[in-house]
Amino acid sequence: MVVVYVSYRLLEDIAIADACFDLFGNSLEELFHAGFLALMETSVEVHTVKEIIEKSIKLEHHNVEQLLFLFLEELIYLKDAELLIFSKCNLSIEQDPNTSSYTLSADLIGQEFNNEISTITDVKAVTFYQLYVKHSEEGWEARVTFDL
């Protein structure tokens, strides 16, 4: 597992009722972690989330864009179905050299919602709107839009 530090940028003039982000990372792990942070920081004041519960998830897809979509969708699912919110995420992404399929393993650390968590807004869904993941000499970049 690799602990990564990443960044994202909110695009204010796209999908104004919702939230569109550009994500950046030197590696795929950093890129996905940026997505994790963008989602969590849209939903809650992350510093108010305590590190009580650890949840491990594993996801696979041959397409890295779809994998990002699945990862963010899983976080939304855990928010509603298990009432879990996270402040930390340690993740790794491996690509099978034979099948080219990607496997994401993530340890999510956080807690069940309670009244001590300062909430912001509910993310309803990840969308395909302007969704992309690309790799260049400068690193990895993605765009993702959340329906709020």
């Binding site: 909110l10 104004i16 939304i76 928010k79 509603d80 807004t121 509910d122 869904a125 395909f128 329906d147």
Partner: protein, 484 residues
């Protein structure tokens, strides 16, 4: 050239983009809005509704309502009808929050009776109605009960003590779409919705105590239970929560994977994914969407039962004594199978309303008998600062807009820009100074919903009244609000 450059002014409230094969359009487009609204419409609205006009089986015009704004797939405020045999159904034409909608509840209390107790009342409602991110619902359900809710909608609530028999008829489709089938829905969607019955959610969802500020049509208002200026009413705005959101996501993805390969439908925007209505996939979505719609009706029904309890607690009278009757419950993110006469021929269509309200006129078969003489109530939610409107459906809407009208104000400023302009606690103080007491789960979320982030609702109402898509009945202004 942008799509807007092809628009031609038809009258003061209507523009049209004629069908253009060079743009790939299968149908013309109509844009509703007075000059002020038209000027403000963002270019995304034009491009997105032109994309909608490219889908197969479209009947009549694809159109946008005056509160339209840039969404994905369809614009918010988009309406399109597709032939049931040749057309498509699109989750992006309904929205992630399936059966997001409004309901309006009357009381016989005046503003002078309610205002002195508004803090106590709003605090009580805030305690009774779970609001905000990560809140568990107020009605614990087994999976079997959840299935019953999804397949029976409001009726389940009435049968289980969350409402009055009379509530049932005062809702679109009596609060139940009969096509609902729980078996076609993913386990993920079921798990997301299981704990959320009776929750408000967040964003622009709210429960608002309002007072009647102006009555435009006293006869229609009387029929709808609005008797006097200064009468207190309650408005609820929310939808089908994670259940509907996941159903939309699941089918959107499935359709996207098959659109080009299986049905040879070009993908103009991935959020505009669609399936032939007659396909197994299309039919399954219709069944799942209907189940989510039923959950949306039930969600608002349970919240209404909490509203009644809250009023009983604060005012020491029964909800019946306070005449807390449901005026109507309207959906504004939904697709419905309806019949219209198009160029002299009766066509059966699936009308997609995404951020658009049904506005059926007098004597329509699908509205309750009590409203046959005046048309169905249409509930338009404004921003929490500026007020809302009660209107009535019109005969003209049946021929002009597939019985559709606007749904609210329509956002003009992004959430982040709104937050930069004002802090939530400052906004709350400003609203309190104006006589609106607010309890919000999130101060940041409150700032996102500031009145200046929305279009002027009076312009929206002027547009739909002027275009005869709905008739003004009463203006309602807030005195208290809870939001997620």
């Amino acid at each position: 050239m942008s799509a807007k450059d092809y628009a031609i002014k038809i009258d003061n409230y209507t523009h049209e983009i004629p069908e253009r094969t060079d743009l790939g359009m299968n149908a013309p487009v109509k844009i509703y809005g007075n000059p002020s609204i038209y000027k403000m419409l963002d270019k995304g609205v034009f491009q997105q509704i032109v994309n909608v006009s490219k889908l197969p089986g479209l009947v009549g015009h694809a159109m946008t309502m005056p509160d339209a704004h840039w969404g994905y797939g369809f614009p918010i405020g988009g309406v399109a009808a597709f032939d049931v045999n040749e057309g498509v159904i699109s989750p992006g034409g309904i929205g992630f929050d399936i059966n997001c909608g409004m309901r309006l509840i009357t009381t016989n209390l005046t503003v002078s009776e309610v205002k002195p107790k508004i803090r106590e009342l709003i605090n009580t409602l805030y305690d009774l109605i779970p609001a905000g991110v990560g809140k568990k619902g107020s009605v614990p359900l087994s999976m079997q009960q959840f299935r019953d809710v999804a397949e029976n909608g409001t009726k389940w609530c009435i049968d289980n003590g969350y409402g009055w028999d009379d509530d049932l008829v005062r809702q679109e489709n009596n609060g139940c779409l009969s096509a609902a089938d729980f078996s076609v829905i993913s386990d993920k969607a079921k798990s997301r919705g299981l704990k959320q019955l009776g929750t408000l959610g967040s964003g622009n969802h709210y429960c608002e105590v309002q007072t009647v500020n102006q009555i435009f049509d006293s006869e229609t208002a009387e029929v709808m239970g609005i008797k006097d200026k200064d009468q207190t009413v309650v408005m609820v705005h929310c939808g089908s929560r994670g259940f509907g959101h996941q159903i939309a996501s699941d089918f959107l993805r499935e359709f996207l994977n098959k659109m080009e390969s299986k049905w040879q439908i070009p993908i103009y925007e991935r959020e505009l994914s669609a399936a032939p209505i007659n396909s197994k996939e299309g039919q399954n979505y219709l069944k799942a969407m209907s189940a989510a719609a039923n959950f949306g009706f039930a969600n608002r029904q349970v919240i209404m039962s909490h509203v009644r309890k809250g009023f009983e607690k604060i005012f020491g009278r029964t909800a019946e004594e306070m005449e807390m009757n449901l005026v109507y419950d309207v959906a504004h993110n939904i697709a419905k199978q309806e019949k219209y006469v198009i160029e002299g021929r009766t066509r059966e269509v699936i009308v997609h309303r995404k951020g658009a309200t049904r506005s059926f006129g007098p004597n329509s078969a699908d509205i309750p008998d009590i409203y046959k003489s005046v048309g169905q109530p249409v509930i338009l939610g404004g921003s929490m600062e500026t007020g809302s409107y009660l209107l009535a459906g019109t005969e003209a809407a049946m021929t002009k807009s597939f019985g559709s009208t606007a749904h609210g104000s329509g956002r003009t400023m992004s959430r982040s820009k709104a937050k930069k302009k004002i802090r939530g606690n400052v906004l709350r103080s400003q609203m309190e100074a104006k006589g609106i007491y607010v309890r919000a789960a999130s101060m940041a979320g409150l700032a996102e919903e500031a009145g200046f982030a929305y279009k002027n609702i009076n312009d929206v109402v002027d547009s739909i009244h002027g275009a005869d898509l709905s008739r003004k009945v009463a203006q309602l202004v807030p005195i208290g609000n809870i939001k997620g």
